[in-house]
């Protein structure tokens, strides 16, 4: 969503002869983004999770995803306070982890919030906040 709004801003600078296209593409674009099939399918399952989700559980899930993504061996300690950089993730890894979390929890992380994630705890807190908003 964030990336699309950025591109629509640049689109308006292009030319007004494209106005028709822009309006129709915006309308269709919002449709196709909201029609993201898997997230709407996942919502019913999320309802159960929200009612019984405790913070440690979220953190554990995040740790699990991080571990799998960075292929860390089991003896490597990953806690709430571990920074992604110290675990050997570069910036693309961080984005990928965030996308994995988006898919796992059925949430959608905004551009600015994604920038601020540096530790596992940050990610878990953001997830909790987004789950509550639902």
């Amino acid at each position: 969503m964030a990336s699309f709004t950025a591109s629509s801003v640049s689109f308006s600078a292009v030319s007004c002869s494209f106005k028709q296209n822009k309006v129709s593409s915006l309308g269709k674009a919002s449709l196709s983004f909201s029609g993201n099939g898997s997230s709407s399918r996942r919502l019913p399952a999320l309802r159960f999770r929200v009612s019984c989700a405790a913070k440690p559980e979220t953190v554990n899930k995040v740790v699990e995803i991080v571990r799998k993504q960075l292929a860390l061996p089991n003896d490597r300690d990953v806690s709430g306070e571990s920074k992604f950089a110290t675990l050997g993730a570069d910036s693309l890894d961080t984005v990928e982890i965030v996308m994995g979390l988006e898919e796992e929890f059925g949430i959608s992380v905004e551009e600015e919030s994604a920038q601020s994630i540096t530790t596992v705890q940050d990610a878990a807190d953001l997830i909790e906040k987004l789950l509550e908003k639902k």
């Binding site: 990336s3 591109s7 640049s10 296209n21 674009a29 983004f33 996308m99 994995g100």
Partner: protein
Amino acid sequence: MASTMKYVRVPPNSASLAEARQRVFEFFKTACRSIPSIMEIYTLDDVTSPSQLRSVISSEIRKNAHITNPKVIDMLLFKGTEELCNIVEHSKQRHHILGQYVLNREDRTHDIGNKDQGASDFLKSFYKSNY
């Protein structure tokens, strides 16, 4: 309908490397967010999973991680966006997706970054694959 969603044009100039990085991340996010619809279009549910496709996309991006010229990065992004558009609007077919992104990832001789290294280029491309 899917084609208009993908009118994410990359404007021609990234002012700096930092801006180019941001564009790369946005492209990656757009690609990851379209993975569910891709899996639905080409019915990839029994051959792969969203996380595997995610890692394929990130490895393709990483192949060019050593580039420092923002204009080259823009060009690569343009090509990546074009590829993503083609896939999302069903201009490709299942066997294209399978051959290029799903199967035989381990068998390919991946370049370690520096493309002109050692052995003959012809052989390298030959081993790499048809695609």
